[in-house]
């Protein structure tokens, strides 16, 4: 199966299982709502009985933003920042949880979503932690490159060449981050298919898979990425017309924006589904099976087999 066939199959499957997209979207929306709710209450309380509301509706004023921040400075602002961080982390954990169910269903559509999510969560959580090392490596690489460029540009009298070099560095960093992201997508698949249980082993196997089929894997990943970017460009172009001069238009823009978020989430699931198809079409030779990890120890049987345990 080539990349296009995988993408096509992935697209069909992710549309067929659109409820997974809806679940991810709903979770994302709920998490965002937890962050935004206190802000919304504060803004509503601040503006609902004031004539400023009408003025700001048509002409947003940065002065109001400062006024608002001034009133909620100190403890309230800190509480809000803590809430944002906590919800961000919860969102990451929940996404990791749901990822197991999504990939399991993309692999076997008859699997039960939530039980699969629960089944694979510990492994995927460990994998997520391992992935942070690689993302950290890319970030460090970017940081060092950025610092070097910054240092070099300080002594230069021109900014242009260094800005272009920085663009190049950003391009490389994005590409590397993409490769890491893609590799860990395959690592998730490896874990779900049960070809490996350990996070490190799954990572190595995924890396081997990517290395052995670079064109196909990169094509699948970056075509999905390009589609997401295309979606963003389309959103941006259309949002030019999404003015919010009346309450009806505010609601329309809300719907339009949520549609964009929904499709953005779908693009991610389409990527996973396509990667599952790409992986299953040409898996690596089966590795030496890992010894099964027993879910319990049969003490009775063990005791019988080993008389020493009785002493």
């Amino acid at each position: 199966m080539n990349a296009l066939a995988a993408l096509s199959a992935g697209g069909r499957q992710s549309m067929r299982l659109f409820k997974i997209t809806a679940l991810f979207y709903a979770m994302n929306l709920a998490m965002a709502a937890v962050i935004v709710a206190p802000l919304a209450v504060a803004v509503a309380g601040n503006l609902s009985r004031s004539l400023e509301s009408a003025r700001l509706f048509s002409n947003f004023d940065v002065g109001w933003l400062m006024e608002f921040s001034y009133q909620y400075r100190g403890g309230t602002a800190v509480q809000f920042a803590v809430l944002t961080v906590v919800v961000g982390l919860c969102s990451l954990v929940l996404n990791t949880f749901l990822a197991g169910g999504a990939i399991a269903l993309f692999e076997r559509e008859d699997d039960a979503f939530f039980s699969a999510s629960a089944r694979y969560f510990p492994r995927l959580a460990r994998l997520a932690l391992v992935s942070l090392v690689f993302y950290g490596f890319v970030a460090a690489l970017f940081g060092v490159g950025s610092r070097l460029i910054g240092k070099a540009s300080e002594s230069s009298m021109e900014a242009g060449p260094w800005i272009m070099l920085r663009w190049g560095l950003i391009g490389v960093a994005v590409f590397l981050a993409g490769v890491v992201n893609m590799t860990f997508d395959y690592a998730k698949i490896v874990l779900v298919t049960g070809e490996a249980r350990g996070a490190v082993r799954a990572t190595m196997r995924a890396a081997a898979f990517v290395a052995s089929r670079p064109a196909r894997t990169l094509a699948v990943y970056w075509i999905c990425g390009a589609a997401a970017l295309g979606l963003l460009a389309a959103y941006h172009g259309l949002s030019e017309f999404a003015t919010q001069e009346t309450m009806t238009r505010v609601l329309l823009v809300l719907v339009f924006r949520q549609a964009y978020v929904l499709f953005r989430v779908w693009a991610r699931l389409w990527t996973w589904s396509s990667e599952v198809h790409a992986y299953e079409a040409a898996p690596l030779p089966v590795a030496e099976p890992e010894p099964p990890i027993p879910s319990y120890v049969d003490v009775t049987q063990g005791a019988a087999a080993d008389p020493e345990t009785l002493s």
Partner: protein, 690 residues
């Protein structure tokens, strides 16, 4: 400079009658681009315009601020200023090799460093030179000073970067002798402050003639008019610049500058209608409002050459509006310098007829820069160059007045400008569709970041922090001046500002002089205003504290009248009320309480709007903590607003200025929807790690 040339220049300044030339400089200087030094000889003729015999002289040696970490400047700044960091091991200093009275005593050995502000014995930015005999009242003294200036890597407005040089604060400069009463000084004495991190400059007016010798490949720009350029035959060229009626001289040199020139053609730039409008606004004849032609010179970095038109337009807009409002720009030239990448520390600075701006390699269409910085630095020609404000002691009289004036030019010439937001050098303002800004909203927003940090009126180095200095020198006085304009009205304010500018052109005012100019021009006593908003850190905040609207019920009880005693029972009253309700004759009692939540006092208008479209306006002196208002009308109240036109820009909370009967969640919904969308985007991006 030849003696006869100095004499002619001095004479021409005296005959012009425009000012009182105190300090006239003739400087011969040679740049050594390899050693980053300037070797110079300065001939200073200083006139004692006071009735005091003056026994000593004081000079600024600004460059010594960068000599070591013990200078007051470095101690205060920690080697960081205006977003720039001092590059260690590139120390800057100035050595006086010889200081002598022309044809007289050598005073070099008599020089002593003093620290009038903080007593820092290690500071080397001010010297005192005792004279053998005092300069008599009305007398003059001519000094010859040999000096060598070592430039630092660009920092705090001066220095070098690669082969770029910005010569600012580069020569020994005499302080200002303030006689008793001048700028409200109690006693006569030298006003010669040390160089502080949060401060700019103050100097006497005079004539400058400078011969600057640089390698011939260098492109040069400087204060004043370039009179000639003579090739010396040794690979160097000597440029001569002259300018009268200024209080400083700066120059720049770089081989790769792209030089552009264009004439500001006053006839073409100012339409007949604009001239008529301004004459009418200020109540002056056309001839008085008319502007002069000015040669605009741009020295741009090669990579910014494509932005020449934007720089020209901004300069022309500034010459035009500052000229129309406050009086024509009197000099023949204005040079705009664009420092290179890495030389940003030299950007955004003003010297007479010479300003430094700053731009980026890519610049967004509606970005506030380079227009904002060009207009602002040009504005200093008026509030620091022509009106010689003391920036050590009253920085806001330059920066603040200029922030106010700049805003008026920018909002008029560039409506809908945006803050320049960029990522990896790419301007994003347009892409992000950031809302357009007004100068007023930015000033107010900045003020609200720390409205109680300091009194506005402080000496520049005595604010609590560097950011408080910035806030109280730029944005807060900008907002204060807008409030003053809203209080006086546009025409009165315009007249007062012009009167102040004209009165103090080529002179040194203090803030009470501005107050006097405003009071005199408007015929009002505005001292109360300045007491509130300049000489205190009081915050203004007026609020609608509570509004109630109840139906008026028939009174109950026993009433004595002409027709005898009458008793109204509860049942009768209810019946009367129901009858009125049925006939739409019900009366409503509106009660509103307005409170002064802040400490500052300002008279405010209060507007009451009713459901039937009626409005009522009341005025309140705003002095006591609260005031109550009552109306009985055949309609309910719809809204109450205190200071409905937002005249009081310094009000810390405009949202509580009004109350409406019907709640509206439209704006909250709109803002929440937008924030929700962006939070979702962030979370969806974070989910890529899962």
């Amino acid at each position: 400079m030849h003696r006869w040339a100095s004499a002619i220049l001095l004479l021409s300044v005296c005959l012009s009658g425009q000012n009182k030339p105190q300090a006239n400089y003739s400087i011969s200087a040679r740049l050594n681009p390899t050693a980053k030094t300037v070797t110079g000889r300065e001939t200073l003729t200083w006139i004692n315009g006071s009735q005091d015999p003056i026994p000593d002289l004081q000079f600024h040696l600004y460059m010594n601020a960068f000599k070591n970490t013990k200078s007051t400047f470095m101690r205060e700044s920690g080697g960081q200023l205006r977003g720039d960091r001092f590059q260690k091991d590139s120390w800057g200093y100035i050595d006086i090799k010889k200081l002598a009275v022309a044809g007289g005593a050598d005073l070099t050995r008599a020089m002593e460093f003093i620290a009038p502000d903080d007593g820092n014995a290690e500071d080397r930015t001010v010297i005192r030179v005792p004279l053998e005999k005092p300069v008599p009242p009305g007398g003059q003294i001519t000094l010859e000073i040999d000096f060598v200036t070592q430039f630092p890597h660009v920092f705090a407005r001066t220095g070098y970067h690669g082969n770029f040089f910005l010569g600012g604060q580069w020569f020994p400069k005499i302080g200002v002798w303030e006689k008793a009463g001048m700028r409200f000084a109690k006693t006569a004495g030298w006003n010669c402050h040390q160089f502080h991190a949060n401060s700019e400059f103050y100097a006497d007016y005079g004539a400058y003639a400078v011969d600057l010798t640089v390698p011939s490949e260098y492109v040069v720009g400087a204060t004043g008019i370039q009179k000639n350029a003579v090739k010396n035959g040794d690979g160097t060229t000597t440029y001569r610049f002259e300018q009268a009626n200024v209080h400083d001289f700066a120059w720049t040199a770089q081989p790769t500058y792209r030089r552009f020139t264009r004439t500001f053609d006053a006839e073409r730039e100012v339409t007949a209608k604009e001239l008529t409008d301004i004459s009418r606004l200020l109540g002056i004849p056309h001839a008085e409002a008319r502007l002069s032609n000015v040669e605009m010179i741009l020295l741009l970095q090669p990579e910014h050459a494509g932005q020449a038109e934007r720089h020209f337009r901004a300069t022309a807009n500034a010459i035009k509006w500052f000229g129309l409002w406050y009086g024509a720009y009197p000099h023949a030239t204005i040079t705009v310098v664009d420092p290179p990448n890495g030389g940003g520390g030299a950007g955004g600075m003003e010297y007479p007829t010479f300003i430094t701006a700053g731009t980026s390699w890519l610049q967004g269409r509606n970005d506030g820069d380079p227009e904002g910085v060009v207009v602002h630095e040009f504005g200093h020609q008026y509030w620091q160059g022509l009106v010689g404000s003391n920036e050590f002691e009253e920085a806001w009289m330059d920066e603040g007045f200029n922030t106010y004036s700049t805003g008026k030019v920018i909002d008029r010439a560039y409506p809908g400008w945006t803050l320049p937001v960029r990522l990896a050098g790419i301007p994003l303002s347009n892409l992000m569709r950031l809302p357009g800004l007004t100068w007023e909203s930015v000033d107010r927003a900045a003020y609200l970041s720390a409205p109680k940090a300091d009194d506005l009126a402080r000496r520049a180095w005595e604010y609590q922090t560097g950011s408080s200095y910035s806030l109280n020198s730029y944005m807060r006085p900008g907002a204060m001046m807008l409030t003053l304009e809203n209080t006086l009205g546009e025409a009165e304010m315009a007249k007062a500002m012009r009167a102040y500018h004209q009165r103090w052109r080529y002179d040194h005012p203090a803030f009470p002089d501005f107050i006097a100019a405003v009071n005199e021009s408007t015929g009002k006593d505005m001292n109360w205003f300045f007491d509130q908003f300049v000489y205190s850190s009081n915050v203004a905040d007026y609020a609608v504290a509570g509004v109630s609207c109840e139906p008026v019920s028939e009174d109950l009880g026993v009433f004595d009248g002409n027709g005898g005693r009458r008793t109204v029972t509860a049942a009768e009253a209810r019946k009367i009320d129901e009858e009125r309700e049925k006939n739409h004759k019900r009366q409503w009692l509106t009660k509103a309480t307005i409170r002064r939540e802040g400490e500052a006092v300002y008279p405010v208008d209060i507007e009451f709007r009713f459901e039937n479209g009626e409005t009522e306006r009341r005025q309140w002196d705003g002095k006591y903590r609260w005031a109550k208002f009552e109306f009985t009308k055949a309609t309910k109240v719809a809204s109450v607003a205190v200071d409905p036109e937002h005249k009081l820009v310094l009000d810390a909370n405009w949202t509580n200025n009004s109350w409406r009967a019907e709640s509206s969640y439209a704006t909250a919904g709109k803002l929440t929807s937008t924030v929700l969308f962006w939070v979702e985007q962030v979370l969806a991006t974070l989910a890529l790690l899962a």
